[in-house]
Symmetry: C2
């Protein structure tokens, strides 16, 4: 978010009240936002792959806003632009294993990216702003994850001014090159211009990733004008400043160098992320393995995840042949899309009930195939993708309740759903009047629960659950591989409650109704705190500390009120602040 | 904050709008809040010392509210109650070195403490609520600090129900005993009853200190009724549940046991925390070593801290003789009181300018005396008190700018003021037209900067400043003991700017004016993030993550709006929530 408008000559002089509410209305009436896309449909980015180096060029279509009411000037972005970026990050990892460095650059003259579109932000309802920031944060974390775990190192080739969210995009890259042309700068002008904070991790990354000194960072973030050239290098804001004459050559050199460090295998063939099959009505969202029933009366989404309906292929070559059809990848893509869909489109479904259905041994067999081939790039990518998708669940502002019933398959990778939940119910015994001869529900700890799928805090969900209780964790670890029935699972602390047939309906109903009766805001705060016991990392600091401050600031009249900085921006009138420090 | 009203028979049926605004008005018109007190003035607590065990009994005077408009029923508290608690914590450390265990208990029947008073909270302006929570958090951290560093272990003898902030008080203690009488419970009913979060670290301490499992914690925090007896022990909410018949005996036993673990010296004599001399007008607050000029036009408090005007006493016995008059202790008490006064009473003074005046070598000599006697209880207490007071500065929502001028003494302990600041200016050369023959300003790193005064994140201010820059930190450490002039200090990264005589006034003026022109909310968020680079601890999680969420929740209409849960509480009408999840 930044100065795209102030530097734009043809800008309407005032974002008057009427215009602002038009946009607000528009976002309220916006049709369901769809996250599925593919490169041929991109309006804002170009993805060019040239052997080991890919170039992702941001060239935002001004008229391509997701919602009517604003123009995406100066490579500013909205959710639609970021959906394409996310798609590109994903495709690079799965479809282009040959790529070892990704250059992110701009297709515009003199401007790299002006950050999130201010008109869009100023006019958006509070939940839209917050959800938008969450998704953009996740995408930037995904860029860092690709650098750290995929041997695809991202390089920001900042060939013009990068302000606000534009600079934050660069901050997500491993290496930042800034063109040294006496006009291009990097900046975080949110505070001086808009009265808010940078929304996508800028403050945390400046100090904790790039190690900019805190007083320098303070000064930098209060200077709307930004910093360029050698000073930007000296202050650690960028890694190098390169004159225009040497720019192309220098970027190519650096990209080649970064690509050279990658441990990606030679000659690997990508798999195609085929279009995700999905049907959506007002009552239901259905994919191949995942369905969600939308119960608006109760404010509930009932999500059911199906396990694999066949054994996994016998070897890793066959896994490659299955590609996007391989169960773990397929189900992860579906879950990912569902989480994004529900978060964006279904704000009043405050509780998600998580069920599974299928054969636990097949889930565990799929897990084993993946984990016994972590050196295979595709197996590795699938596990990291599952990890990222589960992290998305961790930062989802919905109450998560796992229901573990007969016929379910909460084992290994799918057990993580129950461990991500705020609470869980496992049926003791069976439903006598449904199927008295059914096998009782079980949960099984697998290898996937013991390391490969860490949360943002760096711990596994089991480690977080038993934070500070070494004995409890050890007792649970010892039972890995066993199908644990309700009583055992509850005693071990793997599930919260284990009601029997007689109490089940009533207990679950009360839990769901209670949840719906509480303040949604307080629930969001409670969950955001309890889900992250123990240590903090850059990632949890962004989602916890920084996001919470930003939410508060966004909501205060000093930013979003009619006389607030965000609403007054571009009108020529200064914000009228309540000067009391809180 | 909790159910004091719902269980109170003589409660007026509805907190109607009129009443609420009366209180709001009252807090707006409240006279300057004074933090100085002493046990003979307590209205709400009794402090009894019996050899190695002190008992602090909470017996809140219903009619003793700091502000008119509410009654402090059921041992609920407001800022005035907490000011006395803070005073008691301090006096125990300085005046009662013989005390090795502190029992906190209640003087009421069946109720330990009902938490923060809800009427007060519901009617208080937003800044008051937030500032109140900050101070109460600091006091609870002080209780933990006494347990960790003073050999004064706090024991919560919960002899009745402890709800909300009442349970959070117990959580600050090292050991929690709950009376097992079938009616006394501990609870965090804020979310179900009030639509807010526990305000004094409850969520963080439940998981990160007491290691309650996150799903159990979730359930506990959504149950207004609370948990008692053996279940409270099994869930780790308390350490023991003791039948009424054995209560007195068991508490005494446990207190004696905790006291027995203390390494406090035998036969030590306390020093008296003599009344702090202070004068206060609308323009100035003056103590012996600290003054603050209140410049309301510029929104600035100009704070000047004077160094010692004599050499320190020759040995630790003489330090004891000086007692509260010993410079470091005196100046720390003054700073502490000033920070609290300005934070509470002067919300519109958004920038604090920090100056020092005096002889740097005397500051360093006082530091040395203290640090060469860390095994002396009093020397140790003084250093820990200075540490806590500097931490108070770190979480103060004001812009801090250090001005390092000729005649100043930013050395060792006082250099921490500059290192705590968001930015600092050190004059290069001297003020030619003031005193051309003056010595140029210097800063000196002393032993105090290298470990004894950690921030809440567990790092020193220097380590935080150079977080991730090992070389920079090493370069600075090497210069310890040198009086560094502006150019050196800036090159080393110890100060932000080093303007000369010609630029000084202009640069400082612009910095101050700019700060006053920005959104106060955004500045608070920026500072709260940049001041805590690097790792997080329980303490920083409470002030960063949890406080920010709570601020947001407090501010949302779902809590504080006319139909919000906080305002509707006790009226018999349910809150009317906006059900959208954000």
């Amino acid at each position: 978010m930044t100065s795209q408008d102030s530097t734009s000559a043809d800008l309407a002089p005032a974002a008057d009240q009427a215009q602002a509410s038009d946009v607000a209305q528009a976002t309220a009436d916006v049709p369901v936002v769809e996250f599925r896309t593919e490169p041929s449909e991109y309006r804002h980015w170009r993805l060019d792959v040239d052997g080991p180096v890919a170039t992702l060029t941001m060239d935002v279509d001004e008229a391509g806003g997701l919602v009517p009411g604003y123009e995406l000037k100066l490579n500013s972005y909205d959710l639609g632009v970021d959906i394409e970026l996310y798609d590109a990050v994903q495709r690079l990892r799965f479809e282009h294993p040959e790529v070892r460095a990704v250059v992110m650059t701009s297709g515009k003259e003199k401007i790299f990216c002006a950050g999130a579109n201010i008109r869009m932000l100023a006019a958006s309802p509070h939940p839209w702003k917050v959800n938008f920031c969450k998704f953009t944060n996740e995408t930037r974390n995904g860029i860092e994850d690709a650098t750290a775990h995929s041997g695809q190192t991202w390089l920001a080739a900042v060939n013009g001014t990068a302000s606000g969210g534009g600079y934050e995009l660069a901050l997500a890259c491993e290496h930042i090159m800034l063109i040294d042309d006496r006009s291009s700068v990097v900046s975080l002008p949110e505070l001086p211009l808009l009265g808010v904070l940078p929304g996508t991790g800028g403050l945390t990354r400046v100090t904790d990733k790039r190690h900019v000194r805190r007083d320098v960072a303070d000064y930098f973030s209060t200077r709307a004008e930004g910093i360029g050239g050698k000073k930007a290098v000296a202050w650690r804001l960028v890694d190098e400043a390169v004159p225009r004459a040497r720019w192309q050559e220098a970027v190519a050199e650096r990209a080649a160098e970064l690509a050279g460090r990658s441990a990606r295998p030679a000659g690997a063939n990508g798999i195609e992320l085929t279009p995700l099959q999905k049907s959506r009505t007002g009552e239901e969202i259905c994919y191949r393995y995942v369905t969600a029933r939308l119960d608006r009366d109760r404010g509930v989404a009932e999500i059911t995840v199906s396990g694999p309906d066949a054994d996994p292929p016998g070897d890793v070559a066959a896994l490659h042949d299955q590609g996007a059809a391989f169960w773990t990848l397929a189900v992860t893509r579906e879950l990912d899309d569902l989480i994004l869909d529900l978060r964006t489109n279904e704000l009043e479904l405050g509780t998600w009930l998580l069920r599974t259905r299928g054969d636990a041994s097949r889930v565990l067999a799929h897990d084993r195939l993946l984990l016994s081939h972590r050196d295979d790039w595709l197996a590795s990518e699938i596990v990291h993708y599952l990890k990222r998708t589960l992290k998305r669940l961790d930062v989802t502002s919905r109450s998560l309740i796992a229901l573990i019933e007969p016929g379910s398959c909460f084992a290994g990778s799918l057990l993580e759903l129950a461990l991500a939940a705020d609470r869980s119910f496992q049926l003791f015994g069976v439903f006598e009047d449904v199927d008295p001869s059914a096998e009782p529900a079980t949960v099984t700890i697998g290898e996937m629960n013991l390391g490969p799928l860490p949360m943002g805090n760096g711990l596994t969900r089991l480690q977080t659950r038993f934070y500070g209780d070494e004995a409890g964790l050890a007792a649970v670890d010892k039972r890995a591989g066993e199908a644990l029935e309700a009583q055992d699972a509850q005693q071990l602390g793997l599930v919260t409650f284990a009601p029997d047939d007689i109490d089940w309906d009533e207990e679950v109903r009360i839990a769901v109704e209670e949840r719906a009766s509480f303040s949604p805001d307080a629930l969001t705060g409670l969950e955001a705190n309890y889900r992250f016991a123990g240590p903090e990392t850059l990632e949890t600091k962004v989602f916890g500390r920084l996001t919470a401050w930003q939410n508060w600031i966004f909501y205060r009249p000093n930013a979003s009120g009619p006389d607030g900085a965000l609403r007054r921006y571009g009108t020529g009138r200064r914000a009228d602040f309540d000067r009391k420090r809180v």
